[in-house]
């Protein structure tokens, strides 16, 4: 069933954006996973996933940012409360200037989770209604979850 869902999602995105926008589509622990480049992640695609009759991913469960050193990724875990199916949606972005369209415009659940990702990883989310640090102080320097972040023990009072 998951394979059918995966094929369906791929087909819908291809009809919307043309072939070869999806970098990879596979099953991860029996759930569909789709990998997109950040230039192909746009409002129309987000709305397609949210609104399309056969998809209806209305519940955004989790937003995860990852620093892979060569590039960065944000993973959206989507769930459909009506049709009871899941999707891992991965959006890749270059590390030098990590920019990913905000999903906050479609799923309000992304509001805090994207702010957290911005705070801890320094990924910019254009379209977010109030993108600023959330867990760390406003004047904090750097983004701790980046792999090259150096913990300044003196400044933290640990040394």
């Amino acid at each position: 069933m998951s394979q059918e869902l995966l094929d369906l999602i791929v087909e819908k995105i291809h009809t919307l954006q043309g072939e070869e926008v999806i970098e990879e589509a596979k099953l991860n622990f029996e759930k569909p996973m789709i990998i997109l480049g950040s230039d192909h992640w746009n409002l129309a695609t987000a709305k397609l996933l949210h609104d399309e009759e056969s998809l209806q991913f209305d519940f955004l469960s989790c937003v995860t940012g990852v620093d892979y050193e060569e590039h960065m990724e944000v993973i959206y875990n989507l769930y459909s409360t009506k049709l009871d199916h899941y999707l891992y949606l991965k959006v890749k972005t270059p590390r030098e200037e990590p920019v990913i369209m905000s999903a906050d415009q479609v799923w309000k659940a992304a509001d805090y989770m994207e702010r957290e990702t911005y705070d801890l990883l320094g990924i910019d989310f254009p379209g977010h209604w109030r993108l600023k640090r959330i867990l760390l102080e406003d004047d904090w320097e750097g983004h701790p979850l980046r792999k090259d972040y150096i913990t300044d023990k003196k400044a933290l009072g640990l040394d």
Binding site: T64, W107, M113
Partner: protein, 370 residues
Amino acid sequence: MSELKTETMTLNMGPQHPSTHGVFRLQLKVDGETIKEAIPVMGYLHRGSEKLAERFLYSQFIPYTDRLDYLNAMTNNYVYCAAIEDLLEWEVPERAEYLRVITMELNRIASHLVWWGTYLLDIGAMSPFLYAFRDRETILDRLNEISGARMTFNYHRIGGVKWDSPDGWIEKVQETVKELYENIQEFNVLVTGNEVFRARTIGVGRLSKEQVINWGLSGPIARGSGIAIDVRKTEPYSIYDRFDFEIPTEQEGDVFARYKVRIAEMFQSLRIIEQACEQIPEGDIITKKGKRLMMIKPPAGEVYRRAEASKGEIGVYAISNGKNKPYRIKLRRPSFVNVSILQHLLVGESIQNLVAIFGSLDVVLGEVDA
């Protein structure tokens, strides 16, 4: 007479306000008694849990999960261990799964009891708090007997649980369950029908179905608005598919509906514990490989694992690169997502309702700030 000139005033509620039960600040703009804008400010308790996870061996991170939602630590333990078990593709012994379910459900009741007591305290009823904590203490005694700690249990392990139940523990739990049935029913009779309580809660802080789904709210908040999402049913984990229980929902979506859902959930948890205590088999409590804590090394891969905590859907996104430390652990904390609705929900409300609404979300700040 010329029209009365009014001004908006900025009011900081917190970070040390008693109703937050932690450190949390609300920046309010009020016009008279009406809230015009509410901006939650958090992070006072931020410990960098996700960053710490990358520095430890897989098994060493379990105690840190206790400190997220410290009122419901068993589920936090579970969801982290389950995510790593997924990566390792391990099977967990039957007895361990039963012990996990019993401890998780006992903990859920304890968490709801704390909410019940403190919520009524927040809106002005002193004595229910004492009753709730009396019963919570009985549950914590049971959990202490099996794990050696009252709140930060560190009990679940990757591949099983740490300790087997002491002699006679299951029978003790069965007795506790019987006691709780009566006591919770008593709470229900004492408070639920109370005229003052109803006046404070019915019709206050309404959330529609669409809002709940779009803002990613989960747990009793979602079920209070008529959305029957509960990971235990929608994607049964552990051995939840073996038990007969229901997902209580209410349609109104107000504070009172969330209250009723939590009360009903406690009874469902008792039902699950009863069944688990009857079915629990003898056997191992942890896999052989799981005993070698330092040797846990999942193959490269990633997985997102969810579970139903007392506050809502808790999730762990675990990424392994084949080494003995996690590459990335993302914690989806239900309170963190649930609290985001405040900036929307409080606007236009009267300031008297603020604490009644905020309390009804059942937010734990240790979890919000991670």
